[in-house]
Symmetry: C2
């Protein structure tokens, strides 16, 4: 729906709910696509969305299930919590197993087993299997509902098979070719089926150099492969090359959005489930730890500055200029770190190319340091004294150079040791850069003050 | 290719080039997929990639063309610049028109017309038309090579038509249904063709509530629609609802990566074409303006601090604590701004929901301000004096509250006036927050100093 139509719909529905005409609101809602239902539920105040959702579940379970699978996981779990155990189980059974798994994994531990017990065995077994794979891997996000046939099957037999089982597969554009023990041999696109003679065996038209991923491949890597090779779906195989599932491009798009958000957030010290339209208390709880870390970093710097209190009393301008020292180093470090973290995220920067990146970023830091240093030296010389300008200019040079190196080294090292390169980078890089810079700044000033006035 | 195999391939190829065995290197390269060729070309040193690329163009033009379309636009334009005009034109003619347009639009103005002149009329006309649409709109990124048939065509006729013209379409999963004047009436998936009786007319099986975009729809909005509705392609219509092109999901994925990078970069003051593996001089040129802006902001703060030099001389601890004042406000503002900018990017925050977000972020700022303020007051009281702790604590409260409001208001306003909300947010938000905070901090201290020692 277009933004405007969506707003009108949202307004009508909330007006109806406010007037107590829940069933009229439900009638409007049911006509929408599941995605649009999800958007309405996501934007209504909590009470309204809960009562509307309950009504929807009772009148159209399949549609309710589809809508739930389109919601943010947090919101979906919140809505499901308002239903009874039996109802939730029936709803989960309506969903493809990858979507059901995502929802179950978002629920509190104690509820999970309860729910799985209440589901039909064939459903709960699949969900349980998927839950066995680690979070954020191909195994966890794949669906085991793929379409695979034997290599000797002909094109016309394949079309018949597809027609017979078409309900089972949400998005089948590829047909996978396997041997009798389910080893992945090749792939055929639906289009190939249309373009070839009915009697051709799949063996003859399949592409055997299949691009595939393993169950333990990181979801970020899966996204990169799908993006690089322009795929609509990628098959997932186990250690013996047996086909166990597929991941479709629509799920990959969700992964990409999620990973991009994570990167953006981590660089700014925000956690992934902190949303603009989320609850205030959630945002407070998520942000306070980062603010405290930031405060700690600032207090480290204060301790360094305090160490030079005698120097400051001799030349108060040293203190007045602190904002320049504090700002420029972090700005430069943030720039470098952002480019490097994004490079890692896009798969361009690795341990191997790391050396080249460090050399480059050190050079960039040096050049920028010289330019900024000269400008600062000039401005400060005119404003106060040439010596102070010199001290601050040299500080800028060092600060930007260090920022370039640290800004590269820290995320590359974190990546190497399999920590999230974005997660803690900003804190360490900024604190270290600041500490080094302030020591140098006041140290040099103190040294000079022994011989001259600044 | 997997990262390891790719590294081996890159090593072998560069060893062969270094030994002067260019044709052996070419033989290795030609066996790869176009995407992988692009990756090799992108990672070789400039000289090597240029000579290898020239050899590739001369021996396998179509493959060279495909590889070029998979490269970053900057790198592609750089490689094309080493070829003659005629060669570039022939290469561009091998490409789908959306890819050709992207490349031509990346070239220097004066070269463009030259190239279009050298291309065959039917190609250059299409490219020229696409270039007529504004940058970053659906019209600019669409391909006019869609597959559309009349509503009275039957399923079997459609299959025949598809078989006859299958070479023309890179990725056709949907068949669009149009009337005699090319107005978009509906859409049929290839799967529907397989599942229905051969004699059924398309009219009967098409979905007529088609999700579509206009030529002037922003590419970010197109990406949002494709992601929300799990589409493989979206049709583009003109003002009269005539079908003019389609955008496929693989191009959408590129748009999403590009837009996410832009958001991440803009928040950190880095420009979009600044790459970890790019040239140093490019990074210097891109980052210096932002560093200068940041310097300007710092100097504004210095001017404010300097205004209170007498106050500082009376209580030097006020200056020593500056790093806390400078850090905490920007940290909080960055957190808020990041959540809001990402929310705008994901389509969750708009002018309409803006009010709710501001209220929420003001509240978050207030609560965090109280907590941080109390902690700071406590720490500083223990470290120096209770009065100074009080001043700094109150400053924190104000600073975090202002940061919450500005951090929301500025990006939402920029978005409202159709400026990139990420672009200049960080500079203004941080400078304004800093200025307000420092005035308050020193103002209150100066006032108190008239009556007490701090």
């Amino acid at each position: 729906m277009q933004a405007q139509r969506q707003k009108l719909m949202l307004d009508s529905i909330s007006r109806l709910i406010r007037r107590g005409a829940l069933s009229n609101a439900l009638n409007l809602l049911i006509k929408l696509r599941p995605v649009d239902i999800a958007q309405v539920l996501g934007q209504l105040p909590q009470n309204d969305s809960e009562s509307l959702f309950k009504a929807l579940v009772r009148s159209e379970l399949p549609k309710a299930a589809e809508a739930v699978s389109e919601l943010e996981t947090d919101k979906a779990v919140e809505l499901l919590a308002t239903l009874g155990r039996e109802e939730v189980s029936r709803l989960l059974q309506e969903l493809p197993s990858d979507d059901a798994t995502l929802l179950v994994s978002g629920m509190p531990e104690e509820l999970r087993d309860d729910l799985l017990d209440a589901m039909k065995v064939e459903h709960s077994t699949v969900v349980n299997e998927l839950l066995g794979f680690e979070d954020e891997t191909a195994g966890r996000i794949m669906t085991p509902d793929y379409f695979a046939l034997d290599e000797d099957v002909t094109v016309s037999e394949a079309i018949t098979a597809l027609q017979r089982r078409s309900e089972e597969f949400e998005m089948a554009f590829y047909l996978y070719v396997v041997d009798s023990r389910n080893h992945l041999l090749g792939v055929v696109s639906l289009r190939q089926l249309l373009l070839n003679q009915p009697s051709t065996p799949l063996r003859k038209i399949m592409i055997s150099d299949v691009i595939k991923v393993a169950t333990d491949t990181d979801q970020e890597e899966v996204a990169r492969i799908v993006a690089t090779y322009n795929l609509l779906a990628v098959p997932v195989v186990d250690q013996e090359n047996k086909l166990v599932g597929i991941i479709t491009v629509d799920d990959i798009i969700d992964v990409m959005r999620e990973e991009a958000t994570e990167d953006i957030y981590a660089l700014a010290g925000v956690e992934a489930d902190d949303r603009a339209l989320g609850s205030s208390i959630n945002s407070v709880m998520r942000r306070l730890p980062w603010l405290m870390l930031s405060l700690l970093a600032a207090l480290v710097v204060v301790a360094i500055v305090q160490f030079y209190v005698v120097t400051i009393e001799q030349a108060v301008w040293l203190a007045i200029l602190i904002p320049v020292v504090a700002t420029m180093g972090s700005t430069a470090a943030t720039q470098t770190m952002t480019v490097v973290v994004r490079g890692i995220g896009l798969g361009e920067v690795s341990w191997e190319t790391g050396k080249r990146v460090i050399t480059k970023e050190a050079l960039v830091g040096l050049i920028n340091g010289v330019v900024v240093g000269l400008v600062v030296a000039g401005v400060v010389s005119l404003w106060t004294s040439a010596r102070l300008g010199g001290v601050l200019g040299l500080t800028m040079l060092l600060s930007l150079f260090v920022a370039g190196i640290r800004g590269t080294l820290v995320p590359v090292l974190l990546k190497r040791f399999r920590l999230d390169p974005a997660l803690t980078s900003s804190f360490f890089v900024v604190t270290i850069t600041d500490a080094v810079t302030f020591f140098f700044y006041f140290g040099m000033a103190t040294f000079l003050l022994k011989h001259f006035r600044l």
